[in-house]
């Protein structure tokens, strides 16, 4: 066990910090369009600096960073208060999925514009009636000449309004059960048959969209991984879902906590032992979250698979973020409930943490069944 950075990790971090210092991301602008433009511009700068696909192999234009370096990358991004690159789904999910399942032609065609943010990707998995249950999805694709015609509805597609490509899972064979008969497509979003409707959240913002697909056309060459193989390809995408991103979120949590402690110290609230107790607890949780995430990475690096600790990180993060933002309402006072203020936004936004990317209930089931080996819940 050695928790110091290796020479290589330290060099990676120092180089990144230097670059970030020389290339400050600037302030987040108001408004969704402007925010998106900012993030696309940010990714372009990352790309020019060679930092867009840190975890991608060098042959695909990446930096070939190790898992640990990738984690450091996202931590440092968070620490520099930089945004996530605009094409985060392409970088984290789409690219790695293509690298596993794509043909050479597909990789040549699609990977470069992912890196450069020329083409933004979104994810079309969830459906209104399927929720966490991929096997229940209803979007249908039928053969038509040398392509496919797709109809259905998707939900929780973030960035859809800015995307060129959608990773779409659809049912191509209705006669075989459940997760058989699914196919993974790349759907061109620039067609009339695809309508994007923003899904307003309880924060009043629309980070997500609904997608209405009415006879959209997808050519045959946009099937990824073969017809009927969609379940497996989708699993590759899902397995990449939280790699790295967790470190970004965890730094955000740490920043929020530091902010709250600062305010509590300034207002005198920190002198209340009850507040000190809660903040101490949040500190412990936040640190343990970070340590446990690194333990998970270490296990993958050394044994090729995560240990039991890996599955706990997202759950601990969402719990802690919800506790923190609720405590803020007690510590900060009226400000924390005032519309448009950061704490008020965080309080509302945090309610989604235990739902998005796997509900806490599902995560606990996964821990119990896959990690602890309990018999399948009924």
């Amino acid at each position: 066990m050695d928790l110091s950075y290796t020479e290589r990790e330290r060099a990676f971090r120092d180089e990144l910090r230097e670059w970030l210092a020389a290339n400050p991301p600037g302030e987040r602008p108001q408004g969704e369009e402007a925010d998106y433009a900012w993030r696309r511009d940010w990714q372009r700068r990352l790309h020019e600096g060679g930092w867009a696909g840190v975890h991608w192999p060098v042959e695909y234009g990446g930096r070939g960073a190790s898992l640990m370096e990738t984690a450091i990358f996202f931590e440092e991004l968070g620490r520099a208060r930089a945004p996530l690159p605009a094409n985060v789904l392409g970088l984290l999910l789409g690219g790695p999925t293509l690298m596993v399942w794509g043909t050479e032609e597909q990789k040549d065609r699609y990977l470069p514009p992912i890196l450069s943010a020329q083409e933004i990707w979104c994810q079309g998995f969830s459906e209104p009636d399927a929720g966490s249950d991929l096997a229940a999805l209803k979007t249908r694709a039928r053969r038509d000449g040398d392509g496919w015609v797709v109809s259905g509805q998707k939900v929780w597609t973030s960035g859809a309004q800015f995307s060129k490509w959608c990773m779409l899972v659809a049912r191509t064979d209705p006669d075989v059960p459940k997760h058989k008969g699914l196919t993974y497509f790349l759907m061109d979003m620039e067609q009339e048959a695809v309508q994007v409707r923003p899904l307003v959240q309880i924060t009043g913002e629309a980070d997500f969209n609904e997608l209405f697909v009415e006879e959209a056309r997808i050519p045959d060459e946009n099937v990824i991984g073969g017809v009927g193989n969609g379940w497996k390809v989708a699993l590759t995408t899902l397995m990449n879902e939280r790699a790295g991103l967790g470190f970004f979120l965890q730094v955000r949590l740490r920043q929020l906590l530091d902010e709250l402690v600062e305010q509590a110290a300034a207002s005198g609230a920190l002198d209340d032992p009850r507040v000190a107790d809660r903040l101490g607890d949040l500190h412990v949780r936040t640190e343990i979250l970070r340590l446990t995430a690194y333990r998970g990475l270490s296990a993958i690096e050394q044994y090729g698979q995560p240990g039991p600790e890996g599955s706990l990180v997202k759950w601990l993060w969402s719990d802690t973020n919800q506790m923190l933002t609720q405590l803020a309402a007690d510590v900060v006072g009226p400000e924390a409930l005032t519309a448009g203020r950061p704490w008020a936004y965080e309080l509302l936004r945090a309610r989604g943490n235990s739902i998005e990317g796997g509900t806490t209930e599902i995560l606990k089931n996964i821990v119990a069944e896959r990690v602890l080996g309990l018999p399948r819940a009924r």
């Binding site: 229940a136 309880i202 007690d330 005032t338």
Partner: protein, 326 residues
Amino acid sequence: MRFTLTDDQREIQRTARDLLANRSSFEKVRAAAEQGPDEALWRELCELGWPGIAVAEAHGGQGLGAVELAVLLEELGYACAATPFLGTVLAAAAIEHAGSDAQRERWLPGLAAGELRGALGAPGELMPDAPGANVVVVVDLAQRTAAVADADAVEPVQTIDPTRRYGRAPAGGEPLEGDAGPAIDRALVAVSAELVGLAQRALDMSVEYVKERKQFGVPVGTFQAVQHRAAQMLLDVEGGRSAALYAAWTADADPQRLPLAAAMAKAWASDAGRSATASAIQLHGGIGFTWEADVHWLFKRAQLDSAFLGAGAAHRARVTALTRPT
């Protein structure tokens, strides 16, 4: 000893539930969030004499008690109704229980009739229904004093709950001469009752949803984790109801016990309201996190109610102080 409501009280409850179900759907709540309080509904409540339900008949009220008021507030919370009812009844209670005869005569008939609107809260804090109020009572929670502040000095604040108008009032104004303790405690009971209503609605909507919503081929309500969360919400609701009804009863029947009872009710209801409405979002899954699912209105109002006049911790401290062995 009889904890159940009397027939008259049940009649008030039923009337309120039916009326609000018809007149204060979430469609109306959403509209109020955009356009301000539901004036038509408020007029209707005034015609029914609700703002004066707990005000003495001598001052133009109905002369009923804190229990009846709690029953109404629970229903208004249940509907998440967008009216200046809460502020008005709190101001009336303060003036009735801490004001001089002259102050009562001056303000109570108008408040009881709903012709005057009221608000009550601590100076500088978020005060519900303060913008647009004619009678703004500022209370000092530590000193347990109250005064009628300059209503024009109220500064509106947009909170995360746009279905109710909030503002900040400065300290000072025309003092109410009596002990404001009972008025503050009555306010705690009233807002606890509203929190119970919010939590009950959160539970009812969740139960309905998880019975229908299917995942993995079965209603999600068959999952034990969902069942247990719903059971916890019931405990939140029923515990709060026990405490709020008891505290309301002491206000009129056994005022010596009111301070402790009110602190207990607000301590529980503050946490239970937060927790039950957050659970409702969770039980609705992704849908619950969307604007159109409507459960967020309950969560947002519960957050404001929870903080109003002190959240759980403040009242737990008071419970301990009041029960400290001498």
